[in-house]
Amino acid sequence: MDPIPAASAIADAALPAHAAAPMPQRRLWRRMLGNPGLVVAALVLGLIAIMAVAAPLVAPHDPYEQSLDTRMTPPAFVDAERSDPAHLLGTDNLGRDYLSRLIYGARISLLIGFFTMLVSGVIGTVLGIAAGYFGGRTDMVVSFLVTTRLSLPVVMVALAVVAVLGGSLQVVVLVLGLLLWDRFAVVMRSATMQVRGREYITAARAIGCSVPRILWGEVLPNVLSGLVVIASYEMAQAILLEAALSFLGLGVQPPLPSWGLMVSEAKEFMLFEPWMIMLPGAAICLLVLAINLLGDGIRDITAPEGRS
């Protein structure tokens, strides 16, 4: 009796059916393109990102160049008579080109959103995975930290800290990053607890893998899809908070063109030139919407257990 060839013949016979199925990458692509929200969000986000990166090339004017003669020129679609073809979206109260300021403002929003998400993501993921994997006392400490963090009102604390330290890009990123990690921690903790019980973790321990290797190679790749979704929400959250802080005059300082700051500067003229407050407001809305849609889309295409 020679069981091996016979067994392998059966094992092989089972393969063609699987081999005919598309590879995971191609299936993922198809599922991505089948999700309109995700496609639109990716396009909008991509466009804003390209604009932000290539701002000096894309922007028609210097965003800081003032021209007091042409203050508050409305865009053509608001008032064709007063509009100036050189300023597609008009000028602000100091005569600076509005379109250029919006384009440069995208830089600030994306920068703050991205780096805040990075800071809070690293803090929250490390704490969450540690709590979920080690459990026991570590879990108790992390849960206490999360509870403490949740009892702090984000806007109040951010306002207080920025008021003391002064508003700048770095301070805003750091303060928001240190305040927005709670959701990362909570989600990563529960995802890790699920993964920890799997036998491949036990197998890795039996092999003799070190704890960092298990966390990095076995746990992290299996909680990553949840992480991407949270990251997108937190990025949107950070962008909104930066706009709020800048609106209150405690975020990015003028003359830096931040969207929140532009809303703030335009609010005095809200009744006379409403387009001035609408344009940066719409930009914030669009960016946050796109990021949220992207997060939803990623969740939808990764969540169904069709993967396994």
Partner: protein, 327 residues
């Protein structure tokens, strides 16, 4: 390596867990394993049988070094397991688990799963590791093209082959198989069992084979140990234990095995409906509340694991008294 010592020796191993406990509730002790002493010789297959919750898997986890015994010693290759580093331990003993859907990391492809132990142990160069993985694939009866597949693209039997390849790539001496076939289709079970038998011969492995399927144990194991509530109640050569059981519990296990003949109906286990509670162990012999042959001494005195007539050992007051019930 010490050729004289058994590859695995358990000396009075206990495992207790504290459960519950709080402001008002007293913390209670759950005894999962209560004084198990067993040996697995080189090249031997020891079958470990018993119903769910009897401590088989806890025992396996201690042998793999994933949990420390509360009392007693686990010796691998004659050395206490606590004295071995995690890499050294990994080279001596490797597991094969029950559920091949949970035992493979879904984010790694097959080559990476089988190659991981080699990387962790720093074996060979990249090319040598690739060759070793290809050799393992051949040994477990998978085609070279399976190397790039992800677990989700494989069937249950193929996944179990991958799990076996991962366990054997380091060429361990002892493999702890924790119900390696009970999650598989019956037709695939036989393939996997044949594969395990064949690999044992080719690579000179020893198995601790945990199962509740007595037919599977009979096919594979040279010796069998039956566990009940954390204790070994009977132990001996497989033919003897499964042919002429000395302990009423082993006899009941055998009687409860399903047969394909429907005219026989469902087997009667004759053990009653009283389920054992590991939090409140019965007095005397742990099995006495369910034993069909119980008498007054059983509730009073715990029987020792003593040599019995047909060879091996059994823990029952009736053994050697010639009046035992082979139910």
């Amino acid at each position: 390596m010490n050729a004289a010592s058994p590859i695995l020796e358990l000396r009075g191993v206990h495992k207790r867990y504290g459960v519950g406990g709080g402001l008002m509730a007293r913390r209670r002790t759950l005894t999962a394993v209560a004084g198990v002493s067993l040996r697995v010789e080189r090249g031997e297959v020891l079958g470990l049988v018993g119903e769910s919750g009897c401590g088989k898997s806890t025992l396996a986890r201690m042998i793999l070094g994933l949990e420390a015994p509360s009392e007693g010693e686990v010796l691998l290759d004659g050395r206490p397991i606590a004295s071995l580093g995690r890499l050294e331990r990994g080279r001596l003993v490797q597991p094969v688990f029950q559920d091949p859907y949970s035992s493979l990391n879904p984010r790694r492809d097959v080559a990476s799963i089988i190659g991981l132990p080699l990387i962790v142990h720093g074996v060979g160069t990249v090319a040598e590791r690739r060759d070793a993985v290809a050799e393992m694939l051949g040994l477990v009866g998978l085609a070279p093209r399976h190397a790039e597949a992800f677990p989700s693209q494989l069937s249950g039997g193929q996944r179990q082959r991958v799990a076996i390849a991962r366990a054997l790539v380091l060429r361990p001496t002892l493999v702890v198989c924790d119900e390696p076939t009970s999650a598989l289709d019956v037709s695939v079970q036989a393939q996997i069992l044949n594969l395990l038998l064949d690999l044992k011969e080719r690579l000179g492995l020893s198995y601790l084979f945990i199962s509740h399927n007595l037919a599977v144990v009979h096919m594979l194991a040279g010796r069998v140990a039956a566990m009940y509530l954390g204790r070994v109640v009977e132990e001996g050569e497989a033919g003897r234990v499964l042919g002429a059981p000395q302990h009423p519990y082993t006899a009941a296990l055998l009687a409860s095995a399903l047969t394909p003949d429907p005219s026989l109906g469902l087997p009667a286990m004759r053990l009653g409906t009283v389920f054992p509670n590991p939090l409140a162990l019965p007095s005397g012999c742990a099995f006495h509340p369910r034993c069909p042959a119980v008498f007054e001494r059983c509730a009073r005195e715990a029987p020792a694991l003593l040599p019995c007539p047909g060879g091996g050992r059994a823990a029952c007051h009736l053994t050697g008294q010639d009046q035992h019930q082979a139910a």
